[in-house]
């Protein structure tokens, strides 16, 4: 990660800006939306090792004098899915990347809740995003 940040520093013009945008290291919430109603279903169990490593890498390039921290924001972000299949595919991709342990338990829970609620529902995954602005020194 530090190598990638050094490369970013190299290709930036003097006074250039680096944006680090990624999900905040907080467990995302999964629910079902039916009309305006949101029914909570479960909380994901992400691993945050990569996030901590990224935070350390950013802190390193600031300490080394490559960048200076400018702004940091956190804001809500949601992901809507119409089908259980899409939800499963999205989870599988994150599992493949090593960011998640298997969440088959959550897929089963969502399936049960959808059956109980009945009618048309959408699966909603929500959790904050973090945006950090760094300025090239």
């Amino acid at each position: 990660m530090v190598h990638a940040l050094h490369e970013a520093h190299r290709v930036l013009k003097p006074n250039g800006i680096l944006i680090d945008l990624r999900p905040a290291a907080l467990h995302r919430r999964v629910g079902l939306r039916q009309g305006e109603r949101l029914l909570p279903v479960g909380i994901m169990r992400e691993r945050f090792d990569d996030d901590r490593a990224a935070d350390r890498a950013v802190a390193d390039v600031i300490r080394e004098g490559f960048f200076m921290a400018d702004q940091r924001k956190q804001f809500p972000c949601s992901r809507l899915m119409d089908s259980l299949n899409e939800f499963q595919k999205w989870l599988d991709y994150s599992v493949k990347l090593g960011k998640l342990p298997s969440h088959d338990w959550l897929v089963r829970k969502v399936e049960r809740e959808r059956h109980t609620v009945g009618g048309k529902t959408r699966i909603v995954v929500s959790g904050p995003l973090m945006l950090q602005v760094l300025k090239k020194r």
């Binding site: 290709v11 930036l12 250039g16 944006i19 949601s78 809507l80």
Partner: protein, 98 residues
């Protein structure tokens, strides 16, 4: 496509609030299928977007509206070894990759 990320557009609002993107030359690292790339182009940026996954880059190219064709360039590449000259870009965006 029924999967939608950030339908409230909070992400683009936050990006707009921190920088003026108009005519800025931007390198986006980790563009995936180009969702954020299109949003940055819509903010007025000229975006060179890359991702190590050739399959995702192919999808991203297919998803570019004709009106953005001159504002967006996609390329397969690694963040640790960028194929760009030094001091080229106004802004570098790490898009969900760090």
């Amino acid at each position: 496509m029924s999967l939608r990320v950030d339908p409230e557009k909070n992400e683009v609002r936050a990006l707009k609030a921190v920088i003026d993107w108009h005519e800025k030359l931007v390198l986006e690292i980790g563009c995936g299928e180009g969702r954020l790339t299109r949003r940055l182009a819509r903010l007025g940026a000229i975006v060179h977007a890359n991702d190590p996954d050739a399959g995702l880059i192919a999808k991203a190219k297919r998803n570019v509206p004709r009106s953005f064709a001159k504002r967006i360039r996609f390329r397969v590449g690694q963040a640790e070894k960028l194929n760009h000259a030094s001091k080229t870009f106004d802004i570098v965006v790490f898009s969900w990759v760090l």
